[in-house]
């Protein structure tokens, strides 16, 4: 391909009509505190697992909200469950239970 000095970026639109929102609904019933998240990313910054691999709990959360649930299923297995994220969360999201709930959600909905 000829290098014109610029490139086309991939399509980054989020199609809310095609998302699978069953996950977020079920998740909300398990752990309502997820709705107070402001997406600051403190959880991911302190994450024990993130030191060793590209695990990002904030990203997982965001993807579930968008209804994009395909890519998260293998992600959660990386979590060590140590609870540092929960301790640093400025909004008091109950992150350990949220992760537990995410697992249960995936298990229930497949």
């Amino acid at each position: 391909m000829i290098d014109f000095g610029y490139a086309l970026t991939n399509d980054r639109q989020i199609d809310y009509d095609r998302g699978d929102f069953r996950y977020i609904r079920l998740l909300r019933s398990f752990e309502p505190s997820l709705d107070v998240c402001i997406g600051c990313g403190s959880c991911s910054a302190t994450c024990s697992a993130a030191l060793f691999t590209d695990f990002n709990i904030r990203k997982v959360h965001t993807l579930i909200r968008r209804g994009d649930t395909e890519s998260i299923k293998s992600e959660l297995s990386k979590c060590m469950f140590c609870g540092k994220c929960q301790l640093v969360c400025p909004r008091g999201v109950n992150l350990r239970n949220l992760i537990l709930a995410m697992n249960r959600t995936i298990e229930q909905l497949g």
């Binding site: 505190s33 024990s48 691999t53 293998s74 990386k78 301790l87 109950n94 239970n97 995936i106 298990e107």
Partner: protein, 616 residues
Amino acid sequence: MIKFNLFVLPFSFGLIYVVYSIIIHYYRWITALSAVDKVKLGTGLRTPSKIMASLKEIFLEGLIHRKLWKHNPALGYMHMSFALGWFLLIVVGNLESRVYHGAYINAPYYPIFLKFFIHDRLVLFFEVFTVPAFFRFIMDFLLLMVLSGLVLALVKRKKSKWFGIKKTTNHNIFDQVALSCLWMIFPMRLLAESYTAGYFGGGGGFLTQNLGKLLIAVTPGPAEIIAYFFWWSYSLVLGIFFIMMPYSRYMHIPSELLLIVFRHCGILPKKWNSSFTNLEAHSCSRCGVCIDACQLNFAAGTGNIQAVYLIREHREQYVPDDVALTCMLCGRCQEACPVSIKVDSIRLLKRRELGTGQVSDFSYLKNGHPGFADVVYFAGCMSHLSPAIPFAMEGILQEAGINYLFLDRAGSICCGRPLMLAGKDKQASELMEFNKIMIRQTKARLLVTSCPICYKVFREEYNLPVRIQHHSQYLLELVKEGKIALQSQHPKVVYHDPCDLGRGCKIYEAPRELLGKISTLIPAEKEYAAALCCGGSLGLMNTSLQKKDDITKNALEMLLAKDPDILVTSCPLCKKTFAKHSHTEVRDIAEMVHDAIPGRGIRKIPVSKGKEVFTV
């Protein structure tokens, strides 16, 4: 001599039913034991010392209720009067029946309803010293003892605070029926015996005889029929109580006996739902002592998840998710439990059952050689959130000239206990395996950790070939060996016992001794085994931040009641949790020691409130 009447049938039927039921239960509990435990039980039952120890505990806990006496004397007396009183009524009643009946074997109902069948006349003064009169006196005395317990039980309904109980158990219908019957048994016996003694003009002791006279005098109608009515009632309530027993809390009476024997034989709770746990669940008397001990109850207002409810639901084989998940696993309830039921292991068992089939994938962790050292220092995830602790520890280790290795300097691989607390033991074991290899490779002789959560799991689950110490123990050892010299202005401090270090590992004295060298330690309102949880527990899964904050604030209020200069703890998680709400400085014990080393302390040390001195 007539020895049968129709009214004995309800009692007899109930008795046969309950005995049959107990035999079936015992059979199931014993046969369901694992092969190893069966051997333990067999060996235990052939060891006289273990049998004696079991009998002693059965007497002290089953009849005297020693632990309840310690909790509150009125509560202890109430339970003792019922248990010991009733037990002696049965024993003495049987002996008494022998006086009248030469045979060695009686129908079981005969001693129970003896006064219906036997009517001694004539109570002359000198007859007080005869054997029948002696028995009459003892039997009335015992009945009075049980009735005094009943009066206390009625008072407890209204004034439970007098018995050291703030919140009582919310009983289900089976327990309520059984309880009502139990309460009816002894007044019915009293009335039946009194009317009979009054009608026949003899045969009663000091209580029933005199009450009988009085009752006959004040009640119109044929005394014989009234007495007969009460004999029927007595038999009926006994019968109903016995039939309800296997379905109610009163199953704890036969269960606890076996549980005590099991324990003395060295049978331990398992990680899965075992016969032992089942027996423990039946041994719960639902007294509700655990409810008052639970901080979620008294500080956060969550009153439906306490040990008593968990165990009841476990027995009913349906534990709702939130009961399994809402618990700090702080261990206060099992410390308070008069039956010493291992509640935390039951809760974890339920979490394991709840656990998802999700697999963990820690393949991203790569084993590199960590290097060699004498002492391995493992800070733990939580200590990394409070960098002052690893900083202090490193300072001390350097000062003492120890050849050490900071294993998780670049970030911890979790010890696995947080996963275990969520019921994911399999996933935890993968992390544990990884850490084990790392620790073994260092060829160290000692592993020191700053986190009680890690410490407990290292000690109990890792099976490491090295000595394991919490930093409070290690630092005390360093001071005693003279490797570090301390100098301090002795600020006033209160020490907070972290759950996993205190109740979890029974380490209470080492941190106190260490603190005694550098500070003036003032006792907290609740300490040692009664210490409070900070509220930050990793065991608590699904409780809102607000409730956790309530627990923290409540605990702080009690800890800071005597206005110390510093609140000292030895757990990074407790420190983080308290620091969020405390106006008083919260520090880890390692920081305290570090700053007491001359020339090392670079942080401010408050001498007293409002006056701060900086040391360099």
